[in-house]
């Protein structure tokens, strides 16, 4: 098991390198001029040229990329490089990128976790209920609800919630901050809507599929109570694809809370990334996107490990590998 996790972590490296390469290339072709940004509009051509040289912008693409990875020596603009845990400084605020990420990521984590927990707590029981009474009125209502949830634009949900609960009913504030729980209610609901819909549909279809399996028939033939059939025999099997979907959803919640964070003016990583993209703040964009990609891959890894606890067939693959070495 441990070896498997280590191997997966090693496999992360090429993926992350690929991510940095793609994002770096995108930033490279972005029509922006950091030197101009640093100097302001009225700088002399000589000063401008000097600034470009100082920042290493006059070098060819591949050299710039290598410097991003391995660092760059310069009294002002130098940094140790991504591989040594240094992402440089923001062109805009001149703050250390990594520190900025670390200060905003927990805020996003709170939001995403809240949204996922809410989605799971509601979606899984509803999915099970729907699956045990397929095509009944209850099932139809929830199916339509799930489809609505998957079809509504996030920003629209947010605006409707703000209009109703903040502006009119004045139950919750329209702006969110991580220190006030009541201010998190609306963004969490907003963010969980889509995931809830997806997880609900997945739970329903997976549960329906499992209920058709021969081993469910075996359990019934043995005279097991329907409760035991559903919760002991069916649910654990049905949860396997649900876990995958929930993991993917959590990953995209962490990286994709952009719109929600913007609308609720929430100081999360998503807001920072969007601002950085607007401002063409290359180090900030590169750093944040790499960070998010890494988080995403680590969550996928955790999901795979979680599988082992639900599905013994996968666990034995782990241990079989261990035995062979």
């Amino acid at each position: 098991m441990f070896r498997y996790i280590m191997r997966r972590i090693l496999m992360l490296i090429p993926v992350l390198l690929g991510v940095t390469f793609i994002v770096f290339s995108l930033m490279y072709i972005t029509p922006s001029d950091p030197a101009q940004m640093m100097l302001g509009a009225n700088a002399s051509p000589a000063a401008y040229k000097q600034m470009r040289a100082d920042m290493g912008l006059d070098q060819p693409f591949i050299v710039q990329y290598a410097r991003f990875l391995f660092g760059y020596k310069h009294p002002v603009f130098g940094y140790r490089g991504l591989l040594f845990g240094d992402l440089g400084r923001s062109y805009v605020s001149n703050r250390n990128v990594f520190e900025l990420i670390l200060s905003s990521f927990p805020n996003t984590l709170i939001l995403a976790t809240g949204a996922l927990v809410l989605a799971l707590v509601l979606a899984i029981p509803i999915g099970i209920l729907s699956a045990t009474k397929p095509y009944s009125a209850v099932d139809m209502i929830f199916t339509v609800f799930a489809l609505l949830g998957a079809s509504m634009p996030v920003f629209w949900i947010a605006m409707v919630l703000i209009y109703t609960f903040a502006n009119n009913l004045r139950l919750f504030p329209a702006m969110a901050n991580p220190h006030d729980f009541s201010s998190l209610v609306l963004p969490i609901i907003t963010l969980s809507m889509y995931s809830m819909a997806i997880i609900m549909r997945m739970t329903r279809s997976s549960m329906l599929d499992v209920m058709q399996q021969d081993y469910i028939r075996t359990a019934r033939v043995k005279g097991m109570d329907e409760k035991v059939v559903i919760f002991k025999h069916a649910l654990r099997n049905a949860l396997i694809p649900v876990v995958t979907v929930a993991g993917l959803q959590f990953g995209s919640l962490l990286g994709g809370a952009v719109l929600t964070e913007k609308i609720f003016s929430y100081p999360g990583l998503g807001s920072i990334m969007v601002d950085a993209i607007y401002q063409k703040d290359t180090p900030q964009i590169l750093g944040s996107v790499c960070f998010v990609a890494m988080t995403f891959t680590i969550i996928n890894l955790m999901v795979d490990v979680l599988y082992g606890f639900i599905d013994p067939r996968i666990k034995s693959v782990f241990s079989a590998k261990k035995k062979r070495r």
């Binding site: 090429p14 993926v15 690929g18 991510v19 793609i22 994002v23 995108l26 930033m27 072709i29 972005t30 029509p31 489809l147 609505l148 998957a150 079809s151 509504m152 634009p153 996030v154 920003f155 629209w156 605006m159 409707v160 703000i162 209009y163 502006n167 990953g251 995209s252 962490l254 990286g255 994709g256 952009v258 719109l259 913007k262 609308i263 990334m273 969007v274 993209i277 607007y278 063409k280 964009i285 996107v289 998010v292 990609a293 995403f296 891959t297």
Partner: protein, 306 residues
């Protein structure tokens, strides 16, 4: 006998279509959605006849924030006419229904163009990965993994930021996020079909690779691709409105549902109708495509045949 062959061919095709429609029409919601989408398509095609483009993009501040059903005086071709704002007007005094109608055209084009681009690129790459296997497969799938580990919305934002804010770049940004999906679907279908005995049988009767792909594999992967595409048209419309909302897609005064909502943000307290009309338009369109997709999935599933 040739004539006979043709008529038999036609009969066969119509039999297939009838059978498909019988399956599909059992899902009433999907049929209703199809109807809705057709109406939206007609509106999009004839948008210029319903409202002139100039009219829905020009300001007339004296008519700002009219409530639905109110009338106002507008200047049109230097003439003063009284106009009823059926769904009210926005903060620049522009007719909301008119902007919705023209927005439908933008959404429709974005939906279909992005999906077409994604199918072309993703389908080809997926087909190569699935059929050729080996190094091609590894390479394509690794890159797909990498792209998938960047959150799609950030990827889209970064592409628009890098390439510049234009309609075509928006299309690229959205379709890029859908390409990995097609690669996976096409690859998975091809790999599963490659294992079928009828492909071996085709090889055994001397069919070439090209013939196997065209005659045996391709027709069998159209169903999952069609289903995925229908669902994707919906999500593409959703994406486009999100990017426009962030100011990265279609920018005002061009009418687009997402940017209408973005502009409405500050005024929802005074004019909630700004919020509901475009939101419902997006919701209904996306919902309709999702329902059609579900309906197609059931109707095209060979397991449910007969």
């Amino acid at each position: 006998m040739g004539n006979n062959t043709l008529s038999r061919f036609m009969a066969r095709q119509s039999k297939n279509i009838t059978q498909f429609w019988r399956q599909f029409s059992r899902n009433k919601l999907a049929v209703a959605s199809l109807f809705l989408v057709l109406i939206f398509a007609l509106i999009a095609i004839f948008a210029d006849f319903l409202y002139s483009y100039d009219f829905v993009t020009s300001n007339s501040l004296e008519n700002a924030l009219l409530k639905p059903g109110q009338t106002g005086t507008v200047y049109y071709h230097d003439k003063e006419i009284t106009h009823t704002f059926i769904l009210g007007s926005d903060n620049y005094g522009r007719d909301i229904l008119g902007r919705l109608v023209h927005g439908a055209r933008v959404s429709m084009i974005i939906g279909f163009a992005t999906v077409a681009m994604a199918i072309a690129v993703g389908g080809l790459l997926g087909a190569i990965a699935g059929y050729k296997g080996g190094l091609f497969d590894t390479l394509i799938m690794r890159v797909t993994d990498i792209v998938l580990s960047i959150p799609t919305i950030l990827m889209s934002i970064a592409i628009v930021a890098a390439l510049g804010n234009s309609f075509f770049n928006l299309l690229i940004a959205i379709s890029t996020s859908m390409i990995p999906g097609y690669i996976r679907i096409v690859r998975a279908s091809i790999i599963s079909i490659k294992d079928q005995e009828y492909v071996e049988a085709a090889r055994c009767i001397g069919a070439s690779d090209l013939r196997i792909v065209l005659r045996h594999i391709l027709p069998n992967i159209t169903s999952p691709v069609i289903v995925q595409s229908t669902l994707n048209v919906g999500s593409s419309i959703l994406w486009a409105s999100s990017l426009s909302f962030l100011g990265l897609g279609i920018l005002p005064p061009k009418p687009e549902w997402g940017n209408m909502l973005s502009e409405a943000r500050e005024f929802i307290q005074y004019a909630p109708h700004l919020l509901f009309a475009p939101g419902l338009a997006i919701l209904l369109t996306v919902l309709a495509y999702n329902l059609i997709g579900d309906g197609l999935r059931d109707a095209l599933d060979p397991k449910l045949k007969r």
